[in-house]
């Protein structure tokens, strides 16, 4: 008979390889909090509120693999990505119009959402006392209705940061000089690897907002949380036309976004950018103006931070959806 402790281990709701809480170098939030403690700043609680704002907004981003450049034998150094630069254009489309287009597209062909995603992302990696750089990484997930699935994480080539490295075929394969960081297969069932947004998204924008709020409790009232929830949801699901329309509707109504203009993203795709600025942070969402698909999300700082040698406008994280 199986040991009862073994059975309990198998039911761990947050296993050590859970995406969000897995062992890795400190993320931006963890590093900032450590610095605050050590510096002994009297105004810790005030500062923490600001950091929490950043942390909440960045919570959906998966931290890129930190590659410390330590000597001449190391890989070539990688610069932090340059922020996307939207510009006003005669071709600009409003968010409301994009949502309308998306709803029209969904009415013509509802389609279905697919479990799994293919993204490239990057986020600031900070290691106290070290010059750490990170390269973007690409993640391909595939999930079945019974909870089984697979995960492939590949770090992009430092010589060509951001160049896609996964061919989403069957089976998926790496291309160019990406370094496979993780390759996992998951058995049927729900566990820490797939529990968030496990159920299929519901019909209707209002129902979708409630669904998103299950894993981001304030997503139904806080625009920043809503953006974080959308980002997390899109890491689990590749939405079909109907869900794309519902997401575009939610973003147009509840996300506090303002138009920023046309932009060409890091994958060379043209999109329509919208931004939301809060204390210290700007969140950008890039949508396909034709069908409302989310192409990119990016976070940039809005003020200098000498402690981390950050300047206003520097990228804190980005995610580009490739499928």
């Amino acid at each position: 008979m199986t040991d009862e402790l073994d059975l309990l281990r198998g039911a761990d709701p947050v296993p050590a390889d859970a995406e969000r809480w897995r062992d890795r170098p400190l993320d931006f939030e963890g590093e900032r909090r450590l610095r605050q403690l050590v510096s002994g700043a009297r105004r810790r609680r005030t500062v923490r509120r600001v950091v929490m704002g950043v942390a909440t907004a960045t919570a959906g981003a998966v931290v890129a693999i930190a590659l410390t450049v330590s000597g001449p034998a190391s890989s070539p150094a990688v610069a932090a990505p340059v922020a996307l630069r939207p510009h006003t254009s005669a071709a600009d489309v409003s968010l409301a119009d994009i949502a309308r287009r998306a709803r029209a597209a969904a009415a013509a062909e509802p389609g279905k959402s697919v479990r799994g995603s293919h993204v490239q992302d990057w986020s600031l990696g900070l290691e106290s006392g070290k010059d750490a750089v990170t390269v973007p990484q690409e993640t391909l997930t595939r999930w079945n209705a019974d909870g089984s699935g697979s995960l492939l994480v590949v770090a992009t080539d430092p010589r060509h940061p951001g160049r896609p490295v996964i061919d989403d075929g069957d089976p998926p394969r790496t291309v160019h000089d990406g370094k496979v960081v993780r390759r996992e297969s998951y058995p049927p069932g729900i566990d820490g690897a797939n529990q968030s947004y496990f159920e299929p998204p519901p019909a209707g924008a209002a129902a979708l907002r409630d669904y998103l709020a299950v894993w981001h409790p304030d997503a139904d009232r806080d625009p920043g949380e809503l953006l974080g929830a959308v980002q997390d949801f899109l890491r689990v699901w590749t939405p079909g036309p109907r869900e794309i329309a519902n997401l575009a509707t939610l973003l147009s109504r509840d996300a506090g976004l303002r138009p920023a203009g046309r932009v060409t993203d890091r994958m060379g795709r043209e999109g329509q950018a919208f931004v939301r600025t809060t204390a210290g942070l700007q969140q950008m969402v890039v949508l396909d103006p034709d069908d409302g698909r989310v192409l990119d999300m990016e976070e940039t700082g809005t003020r200098d931070d000498p402690e981390y040698r950050l300047k206003a406008g520097d990228v804190l994280s980005y995610t580009a959806w490739l499928s």
Binding site: A11, A16, R20, S128
Partner: protein
């Protein structure tokens, strides 16, 4: 190594383990998890001269108190206590029965849920945080033999509840489990 350096090392080595500890007991609600973890390390910083050589069990002990204080402080103690060890989302369980009937996730948690909070915690610390009996004693603030006995009894009670749940026999009320301790 100075206390400041020891704290820095402990923070970097155990930040995610402490996060998982808290997430397991707060349904993984990210906002609350991050707040509690921040408080754990704030307390650990203030008490950094007490950091033992192997600080993780000690940090878990701090985290247990922070969880209780944080929850109680927000006036939601009872509501969240009811959730500890559960994984429920808007009326439905996050851990649901698998199509594979042999997968233990749901019924093991159901069996665990029938134990007292104290028994649950001993078992979680052993199975999920993978603590040794000595480390368990550190977290629980008791001696090694007392920790070993608590674990032994909790395992027996879990086995009983597993057999009950798997056997689909009438499930005794939770109070009957507590009665076994008397």
């Amino acid at each position: 190594m100075s206390p400041d350096e020891a704290f820095d090392t402990a923070y970097r080595e155990h930040y995610w383990a402490v996060s998982r500890f808290v997430a397991r007991r707060l349904d993984g609600r990210s906002g609350e998890v991050e707040e509690v973890v921040a408080e754990v390390f704030a307390i650990a910083w203030r008490r950094r001269r007490e950091l033992p050589e192997s600080p993780l069990p000690w940090l878990y002990g701090v985290a247990r108190n922070c969880l209780a204080n944080a929850v109680r402080g927000r006036g939601r103690y009872r509501r969240l206590l009811a959730k500890l060890g559960h994984h429920e989302v808007t009326g439905g369980r996050r851990t649901v029965p698998s199509p594979d009937a042999e997968r233990p996730g749901s019924w093991v948690l159901e069996a665990l849920d029938r134990l007292t909070e104290a028994d649950q915690e001993v078992l979680k610390l052993t199975a999920w945080e993978e603590l040794t009996v000595e480390e368990l004693a550190t977290v629980l603030g008791c001696g090694r033999s007392a920790a070993a006995m608590r674990l032994h009894r909790a395992r027996q009670r879990l086995r009983t509840q597993i057999d009950t749940v798997r056997g689909a026999v009438p499930v005794p009320a939770r109070t009957s489990t507590k009665d076994e301790r008397k």
